[in-house]
Symmetry: C2
Subunit: 230 residues, 2 copies
């Protein structure tokens, strides 16, 4: 039987869960004595046991720390432009499954959306936590509040999805330094933005000859990456 | 200005559009004399001109056939297990953008869903047509009604997404024969199914060490493919 995975704020000998997680355990029909897996969202994971369970309160006891699921050899950041409506939810969910270490939201020149409410940011982080749990990662990628593209700082390699670029991600990507994958908004990045990034050492890469929606491009880049087995 | 792209059943000197497309042209505030692009969903595309436009009726005149957008060097089939709820809509939409030539639905051993209504199949085909238009392809991939996995026939290469497989798609894929990418349902393919496919020459491929949702795996495989520039 697959153990239920439960997010906790930190591993501790005894861990009290917040009400929504307690409710989740009740719905799963768990009972005192049942085993679960807990994870702290920063790479640590442990076997634990239900000690106490009511509708809105649950206490777990740590049994033994275990090694978490494998992460990419270097951290991968997805730097994604703000998108309209609820599109970022799908991007955050799939990007978390596909192994990103962090999602940095961006405000770009052609953006239709230039800001994100606190509630929405909290919700995106909750989606990342949920997706992390489902894909059995022990790390939850934080979704970071938007910065202007010009203020983006990165370490290592930066690849920018850009229609018509000559380079291909898989011809350049290596694992000797951290990786950032950058994708634009519905209207695309401006030529000036791409030029400035390239001047700072970024590598524009293509994704075939068709037009991809803004929410598909990040998944295509990350798909290319996981298909290499990382 | 980007021309409006209009699906037609076939290129002809005069083309009458069905009511929904006529309505679409009205909403776009087009008028007689305005240029549009028409495409037949089988690779042919032409510049055309609005001759007549009412709320529910539109007639276009063909001006000149043009060469369509590039397709993959060999046709790519996505063979995808039926999924619960509305998840196939997202898969069909993204797979169309990512260049598939056809989507073959499958019934597999662990499937939660074993059938699809006619209406839903019509709807998925409509989504493919819409996505084809948006990504400026001149080919609309048909979404074919489900067949049992054991009845699947293919030509050329078949790659099966399988957690824990040793092979990687990009190490094997070539463009000397057609390509089929196969993904399982929520519960995964059974060991017997994977074994039988492998016995028929299929190559199981991995997508990294994390668990992907059934609807993310096809996009990861196709992402790996478009990142090679096809």
């Amino acid at each position: 039987m697959r153990l239920t995975r439960v997010p906790v704020t930190a591993l501790a000998p005894e861990m009290e869960l917040p009400a929504p997680e307690a409710r989740h355990l009740s719905v799963m029909r768990l009972a005192p004595g049942d085993p679960v897996l807990v994870f702290d969202g920063r790479g640590r994971e442990a076997r634990a046991e239900v000690v106490h369970l009511e509708a809105l309160r649950a206490v777990l006891r740590l049994v033994e720390e275990v090694s978490g699921t494998p992460e990419t050899p270097q951290p991968v950041t997805l730097a994604a432009a703000l998108l309209k409506g609820d599109k970022l939810s799908d991007v955050v969910r799939a990007a978390t499954e596909l192994g990103v270490a962090r999602i940095q939201l961006l405000v770009t020149a052609h953006a239709d959306v230039r800001d994100i409410g606190t509630q929405k940011l909290v919700r995106l982080n909750r989606i990342a936590q949920e997706a992390s749990k489902q894909s059995r990662r022990s790390v939850t990628p934080p979704v970071l509040e938007p910065v202007a593209l010009s203020a983006l700082r990165w370490e290592g390699q930066l690849y920018v999805a850009q229609p018509g670029a000559a380079a291909r991600l898989t011809d350049h990507l290596h694992w000797e330094s951290p990786v950032t994958l950058l994708t634009g908004p519905e209207g695309g990045l401006s030529a000036a933005e791409v030029e400035r990034l390239a001047g700072q050492g970024a590598c524009p890469v293509q994704l075939g000859p068709r037009i991809l929606r803004a929410e598909t491009a990040p998944l295509a880049l990350l798909g290319a990456l996981v298909a290499t087995g990382v």
